[in-house]
Symmetry: C2
Subunit: 357 residues, 2 copies
């Protein structure tokens, strides 16, 4: 079990993903502000993991509060929520994680529950969200596995694995589930500049599981597709709009177009909490711009001339038309996505096999 994040009596313990793959070190956050820093600095990253980290950050903040009245604690909770919400704008799971704990807090506070009982309840809920995340990944893996080829190589971009979740993974969870069911799969991992989540994180966790893995630079996938060496693409997501547009790590949109051009299926795996019914389409998803130094400075050495402009959007949006299917813990979504997403939101079971064309 890869210890992405863990609730401990001393605080929330995070595997420091900025140090992988060569160093396995941990950062213990004993305060909600430290959780916010850990999210912003990408010690923990990946939409589902960020969601649970934010929930644990809220629970930690509430638990460590010395407020003696509900009014004082409620004011603190508002500050905690704001602090955590300002860390990263794109992953909707962040806001889901915060709101889940804040909503529970508000309902208990309104009922006159004691502060001690509230503390116990929010901790229990955050820990339950952790367990639910792992269970959701396994269910999405079961739904998605049967659509992966029985043998061949699957390309993934960024890290949508155990390290992006509480364990097992979304995209990599589907690959794990397929392999557990007897599929003979190997993985091509895009290195995923500038943060190199593929080279550092995806390769690290797949090697731990003895899944054959090859790292390539992001610009190499097209040539491999043309050579017939990629049978499917699977990625995670940071937010899926109500029309099926998918925000994910920068570069995903390009990979989706390349898959489309080569007739290769392009799958997205994400928990239901990633689907944002309040966002009509992908153009409305805020895209985080990160600091230029993430691009210019590699291992402490400047790779660009002084004064040059730099682009560093952290995410892009893949229009639903390029998405073959979306795997969630509730089932498999297919085009037309506005209808299938609405039906799933309303609790209708989704067919695993494609029924529309």
């Amino acid at each position: 079990m890869i210890p992405t994040l863990e609730w401990l009596p001393e605080g929330v313990n995070f595997l420091d993903q900025t140090k992988l793959p060569l160093e396995e070190t941990y950062v213990l956050a004993t305060d909600y502000r430290q959780v916010a820093t850990v999210i912003r600095d990408m010690v923990v990253r990946g939409a589902p993991a960020i969601g649970v980290a934010a929930a644990m950050g809220m629970a930690l903040g509430i638990d460590r509060s010395v407020a003696t009245t509900i009014d004082a604690l409620t004011a603190e909770v508002a500050v905690m929520a704001k602090t955590l919400a300002e860390t990263r704008p794109t992953a909707v799971n962040l806001f889901w994680g915060i709101d889940e704990i804040r909503g529970l807090y508000n309902s208990l506070a309104a009922k006159g529950t004691s502060i001690a009982e509230i503390k116990a309840a929010v901790i229990a809920r955050a820990r339950q969200m952790y367990d639910e995340d792992i269970a959701a990944c396994k269910r999405m893996g079961a739904h998605g596995a049967e659509l992966l080829p029985m043998q061949g190589t699957v390309l993934t971009h960024c890290n949508a694995g155990a390290l992006a979740t509480c364990g097992y993974g979304t995209a990599l969870g589907v690959i794990r589930a397929a392999i557990e069911r007897g599929h003979k799969l190997s993985v091509f991992a895009d290195e995923t500049r500038p943060f190199l989540q593929g080279a550092r994180l995806t390769a690290w966790e797949l090697m731990k599981d003895n899944i054959p893995t090859t790292v390539l630079c992001d610009n190499m996938a097209a040539a491999l597709m043309r050579q017939g060496r990629i049978q499917a693409v699977i990625v995670g997501s940071d937010r899926i709009a109500a029309n099926g547009d998918v925000a994910n790590k920068i570069g995903t949109y390009g990979v989706a177009i390349l898959a489309h051009e080569h007739g290769i299926p392009f799958y997205v795996a994400a928990p239901w909490s990633t689907i944002d019914l309040a966002t009509r389409n992908g153009d409305l998803i805020p895209i985080e711009q990160r600091a230029a130094v993430e691009v210019t400075l590699i291992n402490g050495k400047q790779m660009t001339p002084n004064g040059v402009g730099i682009e560093n959007p952290a995410f892009d949006v893949t229009p639903a038309k390029y998405v073959t299917a979306i795997f969630t813990e509730r089932g498999v979504l297919r085009a037309p996505y506005p209808e299938s997403i609405r039906a799933m939101a309303n609790g209708a079971p989704q067919p695993t096999e494609q029924t529309t064309v």
Copy 2:
């Protein structure tokens, strides 16, 4: 004038491109074997520059030979040609540069020319090839410039600039020529993993010329295209097959597909010496695989877990169907390429404007 390579009385002087952009240092090759090393280690790179470097390497080898008979010198010339030919397999200009000097040597030797006169003649020819390269870049710039937009941003991949030639550049030469003619252009430079020619070299030489330049990771171009921020793509080439298929730096093929999908013109600029009439199509172009450490090790630090597989093809092939036009010093090639290339090879003038659809 950017001093990519220069014939000096002491030898051939190369700007060390592995050290740019922060250090401008030079490597003086006083022996043809050193020229081979400089080409293999990418101190000098870029197909046109490699062609002239190889010619200068041949001239240097002949000039520094202590052979006293034509038979002895001819045997040495064969070794020189073999040594230089084994450095890098993809750029056809390498073989063109070697053959140009060897052909001259053979014809002079057959005529009974003295060794001293042969030495002077091959040096003169290598230096003339240098001048011809710059003149060819300027002519191809003049042909291509009028097809670039009057304003907007042009995306380029890798470095097809002054640093890839004897000066001025192929793709960047066309951009320079357009700007000299009053076009208001800025440049997006793909950083171009793993060697970072875009971040290090293209950005460096364009900044020297005060051309507004922004570096992006290779996986960001698709998102910028979707935002309407790229009006044209222009790249160089290492070999163009007789059917118009274009070998160029790994990642070019993906960029061509993305341009096609977004309705953005995709141009290739290359001297006529890059067109290989003996290679029927792109599938027949040998693709150099380079060492895994170029991908795994960045500035001395290993970025991947031990034992993971690595892909590192240095080039890919873009099928002619994605190429809007090819600019050479002889004129502009358009589809159908087999016909337009054959006509240009036979000396027929090529229209600058498109006449077929």
